[in-house]
Amino acid sequence: MSISIKSYYPNEELALRIRHRKAVYFSRFCALVTWLGVALLAVLFYQIAVDGYMWLDFQFLSSFPSRFPYKAGIKSALVGTLWLITMLTFIAIPLGVSTALYLEEFSKDGRIHRLISLNISNLAGVPSIVYGIIGLAVFVRGLELERSLVSGALTMSLLILPVIIIASREAIKSVPDGIRNAAYALGATPWQTAWSHILPASFPGILTGVILSLSRAIGETAPLIMIGALTYVAFLPEGPMDSFTTLPIQIYNWISRPQEEFHQLAAAAIIVLLTVLLTMNAGAIYIRHKTEQRLK
């Protein structure tokens, strides 16, 4: 059997020109669309900056919310957010890292192990508002912790735990086996190996995950609204049982008012919130970048 193949490609030159043109247009289109996405981000930032910058001053940062826009500020929201981060650091981070360490270093690879892993990745996908409802039912009402910082911190802990666990597991997984074997060969117990070798080696990765999860918690609004974090708080919480407000809730409150001035106040508060978040996220991305370079 013999086929003369060349003759089966009619109009070859024209077809090729069209194909090349398609390839060029397609690559340009993809680049354009990507930059469109980036441009949207720029528009978003610009819009917020223009709306809010004139309200940003020391008075704004150091005043309580008020019915009068010119007197209003975010003092209680800032302090509430700070309280929340601190409490999350002490509740969620140890829990999350311990879980990751257990799953990666101590538990046997079996059915239960796989089931727990599956469970954690599903928890990561549960909408935040569902955590809010659980927080309301369990912490606020069930355990009678009221609408306090503790309730908020516990609810948020549940929300960010899966994120911390998944990130920490990735970090621990990337520690080369050589380190483990070396430590075991010197007679170290599993815990000694984990504590003095695995954890330090995976620290940057864990830190990145922790920062990203905390920044997610700082920006979350819905679960805290569910557990009823007050939207008008003219005092500072003094202990974990006090009621509180946070930056996103204050922002939500101001956005939902009809007056233009409050919208601008919201924009000013968003600038503060985004500054905090972007600093944290950029830090996390930087640490990851550094670690990647070191590993190369």
Binding site: S27, A31, L101, S107, I129, V130, I133, L158, W191
Partner: protein, 308 residues
């Protein structure tokens, strides 16, 4: 000096360290249990209150009813308008985010220089970290006024604005996850295609994207699930009017927006309004859970093909 070593486990010092070791590992295992307990509690709480709800409202009336008036007499608990609102937002958001996100992913993995990539990817990741309440602000103060100049009849709260901002919100997620999937397609496959006289367009659309399809689909599903569960942006942008309107120009209410609306009023525990919260949340939980499980299944299948 005598060097002797006992391998006997009952050696004094050894016993203490073994005991300590066991305690520590036990503690770690206890921490792991928290995530299991969380799941159990979520399912129990949602199940328990929903069960109470369904003793009063027939399940079929809830799931098939087309009127959602839970707070005013005469009450009606047909959840479809809320589901419709959620679908409308999700559909609109996907329509925006999936094509743009996929194109960005293709740009990042196939066309961008490594320098460009190292600039654009962190930007997308930062975009993914913006709180949803900020997107709500963007919807109300920027998108809706802009839409008003195009559609003068548009309501202050409308589905279109919500869909647009939710679309912008899930876009970076689709772009970064799809980029990961496309980048995992082995180089050798691209080279094989180029060696047959293919152009970059043909290699990308006919070899790379199909090869990464399950990974890409997984990222779409994850993003859709995120859009369904999204709360603050849609509450602020799309309003609180449950209806089954076909146009994007009217106010609607999503499942999540309803939950927020109820919780803003001081609902007493145990009332029917309180239980409605759980019934709607259960539905939300189930829908997102199914999507997430399919997404993970696709992702695992994808990893099996290319991880060696």
């Amino acid at each position: 000096m005598k060097i002797a070593m006992t391998l006997n486990k009952s050696n004094g010092k050894n016993t203490r360290s073994t005991w300590l070791e066991k305690l520590i590992v036990g503690t770690l295992a206890g921490c792991t249990l928290i995530s299991v307990i969380t799941t159990v509690v979520i399912i129990l709480m949602l199940g328990k209150e929903s069960a109470v709800f369904f003793t009063q409202i027939p399940f079929l009336d809830f799931i098939l009813g087309t009127r959602w008036v839970p707070l005013l007499e005469p009450t009606s608990y047909g959840v479809l308008p809320l589901v419709w609102g959620t679908l409308l937002i999700t559909f609109g958001a996907s329509l925006i985010a999936i094509p743009i996100g996929l194109c960005s992913a293709i740009y990042l993995s196939e066309y961008a220089s490594s320098r460009m990539r190292s600039i654009v990817k962190p930007i997308l990741e930062l975009l993914a970290g913006i709180p949803t309440v900020v997107y709500g602000y963007f919807a109300l103060t920027f998108v809706t006024p802009l839409l008003k100049t195009i559609f003068p009849s548009i309501q202050v709260f409308n589905a279109l604005s919500g869909a647009i901002v939710v679309g912008i919100m899930i876009l970076p997620m689709i772009a970064t996850l799809s980029d990961n999937a496309l980048s995992a397609v082995p180089r050798s496959l691209r080279e094989g295609a180029y060696a047959l006289g293919a152009t970059s367009f043909e290699v990308t659309t006919k070899v790379v994207v199909p090869a990464a399809l399950s990974g890409v689909m997984s990222s779409f599903l994850l993003a859709i699930s995120r859009a369904i569960g999204e709360t603050m942006a849609v509450t602020l942008a799309a309003g609180a009017t449950p209806n089954m309107s076909l146009t994007f120009l009217e106010s609607i209410q999503t499942m999540t927006a309803f939950i927020v609306q109820i919780s803003l009023g001081d609902t007493p525990a145990g009332g029917i309004a309180y239980q409605t919260l759980f019934a709607v949340a259960s539905l939300l939980f189930l829908i997102t859970l199914v999507l997430n499980i399919i997404s993970q299944w696709l992702m695992n299948r994808y990893r099996e093909v290319y991880d060696e």
